[in-house]
């Protein structure tokens, strides 16, 4: 199937051609109502969508089956949940629960194309580790996850991706999250994509209940293509704290397009993006904060920083504030430049060579976002992922050789046996 065939079709036609259940029509309607995701669209103007849409791919329709016990993580192989730990309740929901009004057309499309939604409810664990594995080359895969939280609890979600075999595939996936009132969800995404890896388009939606907290940190590394879109809606006194680190090389296209909507009073959002771009890589940070009439006393801060290490590197940065009240505190800023010459000189004046000094500053820039992860093990994994790309090892080689990754590597490959 070619995604380009979705252009200029009615929902009914698409449903017919793609063999979709009629209950997916509302999602298709939402998809058709938005501009087609290409260079001319708001959301995908900086992404490289042409090759993605015009290439013939085999559609994979995940068939959920038996879920094996797993000591620690939920493993999803090509959209199929193969194993999960005891303390996570799993359900598969046939009826589609797409949130109307998400700005991203691929959000609606992934809802339309996905088989049953995977519903994860961590009931007796405080860390939910989700490992996404893609094994099929040249495939088109769509699947969706929903995470439920319980009021007054605190849960940590850690997403990792293994896709070395899925060359040329396009993945449309995403998570819908409901952060219950007074609950906290810490969500960490660790994704290294190589140029021959799959292209991953994630589209997320988070609804943060009263007094709830969403704390999302995304770590996007490598030379591949991937974009995450995110819509966050905040109730009264809800908090959203979003942090994005991009280290992109070669022809990479990586980044985040987000909309944070302050709906409730006293809601609080902060968003920090740091991008390190090498070669001809392009980083994308296109982020809107919208403060509605119903959200007086809002606090909203947003900041994007990019360091361009080579002439060909480019940062597409578009921080935006849309405000309908004046009773708020808001700021946004964006800086793009080279490494701080003062800092570089300071290090060199102590005898540290220029190349080494640059490396230290780049690591430092990245570390400020990595070190905010409180969980020691997860933080170490992110450091390893970053350094594997930074020092030019392939991810798999790292898993095989690095002593510190052993545990990680065992987990990653145990599902094969």
């Amino acid at each position: 199937m070619k995604l380009a065939t979705l252009r200029d079709r009615t929902p009914e036609l698409i449903a017919g051609e793609w063999g979709l259940h009629p209950d997916r029509i509302p999602a298709l309607e939402a998809f058709c109502a938005l501009p087609f995701p290409d260079k001319k669209s708001e959301t995908y103007r900086y992404a490289d969508t042409q090759e993605i849409f015009d290439t013939e791919r085999t559609r994979i329709i995940p068939q959920q089956g038996e879920v094996a016990p797993d000591p620690r993580r939920v493993v999803i192989v090509d959209g199929v949940v193969v194993s999960a730990p005891d303390g996570v309740a799993i359900a598969f929901e046939e009826t589609d629960a797409a949130t109307k009004g998400h700005f991203d057309p691929l959000y609606s499309l992934s809802h339309a194309l996905s088989a049953p939604t995977i519903v994860l409810h961590p009931t007796e664990v405080d860390t939910l580790e989700i490992q996404h594995r893609y094994t099929q080359p040249d495939a088109l895969l769509a699947y969706r996850i929903r995470i439920e939280t319980t009021a007054n609890t605190s849960v940590q979600v850690y997403e990792s991706f293994f896709d070395a075999q899925a060359t040329g595939s396009v993945i449309l996936y995403g998570i819908d999250v409901r952060v219950a009132r007074d609950a906290t969800l810490r969500w960490i995404k660790n994704q290294t994509l190589g140029s021959t890896h799959s292209r991953v388009f994630a589209s997320h939606y988070a609804d943060v209940g009263e007094n709830g907290t969403l704390d999302l940190s995304t770590y996007d590394f490598g030379s591949g293509q991937g974009l995450a879109t995110l819509e966050v809606v905040l109730d009264a006194h809800a908090i959203s704290s979003l942090h994005h680190l991009v280290y992109a090389t070669e022809q990479a296209r990586r980044g985040t397009v987000s909309r944070v909507i302050h709906r409730g009073h006293h809601s609080h959002s902060d968003q920090v993006a740091k991008n390190i771009l090498r070669h001809d890589a392009r980083g994308i940070f296109d982020a809107l904060i919208k403060v509605e009439h119903s959200a007086p006393k809002t606090i909203a801060h947003q900041n994007n920083q990019a360091v361009l290490l080579d002439e060909g590197a480019y940062m597409a940065s578009k921080p935006q504030l849309e405000i309908y009240i004046d009773d708020l505190e808001a700021s946004h800023g964006s800086t793009t430049g080279q490494l701080d010459p003062k800092a570089l000189f300071y290090l060199r004046s102590r005898g540290i060579g220029e190349e080494e000094a640059k490396k230290m500053l780049i690591l430092a820039f990245a570390n400020t976002l990595i070190d905010r992860i409180e969980d020691k093990v997860l933080r170490e994994w992110i450091h390893q992922s970053f350094e594997a790309v930074y020092y030019g090892q392939s991810h798999v080689a790292c898993l095989e050789t690095c002593h510190g990754c052993e545990e990680n590597a065992l987990g990653a490959f145990s599902v094969n046996s």
Partner: protein, 250 residues
């Protein structure tokens, strides 16, 4: 014997000529102090010696042990034994103080043909040194200078100086913004480095630090030139009568 010889140096910052044919010879093992009005070019002189990118040298030469250093990269000058304690040390978030200093110390050791220190050996040494300077233990693991108070930054400069064992030490207003205890700790740190071999160039506005680290020579820098050189007795004269009392170049 002179270890560092500054010969008729002319330097610009941007379009502006700051050092106007400055001559200064630092005698090995001695403590030299430079005093002079604001904007005279004292910091520019120290930046010129360490090869700061702000400074454009347009004439003259600087010799370290008889060899010109003007073509050397800043890191080479450091490895050759020059150390500048900055008037305003930069904050570098994300680089831990210990990691930074270990990298610097090991670069120096490799340059000297010594073995690198491992993390444990180094930390032991750094902790010990920090303690003698009255630094809180947490300053070792914190990001380099980030959120350090003025006094803490200056102590951290001295810590680096002590760990790097330089031969020529330039201290640019190491005493500014220090309380009495910090001034004493910093001065003691400097005095502990005095061994008759190391050479110091202390840039200051105040005589107080010179009570602690007794200088051998006082130089007055005005309008981009050393206009007067004398002994420690010059300090009292400057305190009393100001820079105006020092005559024209000579």
């Amino acid at each position: 014997m002179s270890i560092l010889e500054i010969k008729n140096i002319k330097a610009n910052i941007g379009e502006k000529n700051i050092l106007k044919g400055l001559n200064l010879s630092l005698e090995k093992g001695k403590v030299h102090a430079i005093m002079g009005p604001n904007g005279a070019g004292k910091s520019t002189l120290s930046k010129t010696i360490v090869g700061h990118y702000d400074v454009d040298v347009t004439g003259g030469d600087i010799l370290l042990r008889g060899e010109s250093i003007l073509e050397m990269e800043p890191e080479e000058r450091a490895l050759e034994g020059i150390f500048l304690s900055f008037q305003h040390p930069v904050e570098i978030p994300g680089v831990s103080n210990a990691y930074f200093l270990r990298t610097a110390v090991n670069a120096k050791r490799v340059h000297e043909g010594k073995e690198e220190l491992n993390a444990a050996e180094f930390l032991r040494e750094m902790k010990k040194t920090a303690e003698t300077l009255g630094m809180k233990p947490e300053m070792i693991s914190r990001s380099l200078n980030e959120g350090f108070s003025g006094g803490e930054k200056k102590r951290n400069e001295i810590l680096q100086m002590q760990m790097l064992h330089p031969d020529v030490i330039l201290l640019d207003e190491i005493d500014s913004g220090l309380d009495i205890d910090a001034l004493r700790a910093v001065s003691e740190g400097i005095n502990a480095m005095k061994d008759g071999e190391r050479t110091f160039l202390v840039i200051t506005h105040y005589s107080r630090i010179l009570d602690y680290i007794e200088p051998d020579y006082i130089h007055v820098l005005k309008d981009g030139q050393i206009v007067h050189t004398g002994g420690p007795e010059l300090v009292a004269q400057l305190e009393e009568k100001g820079y105006e009392s020092i005559g024209a170049a000579g």
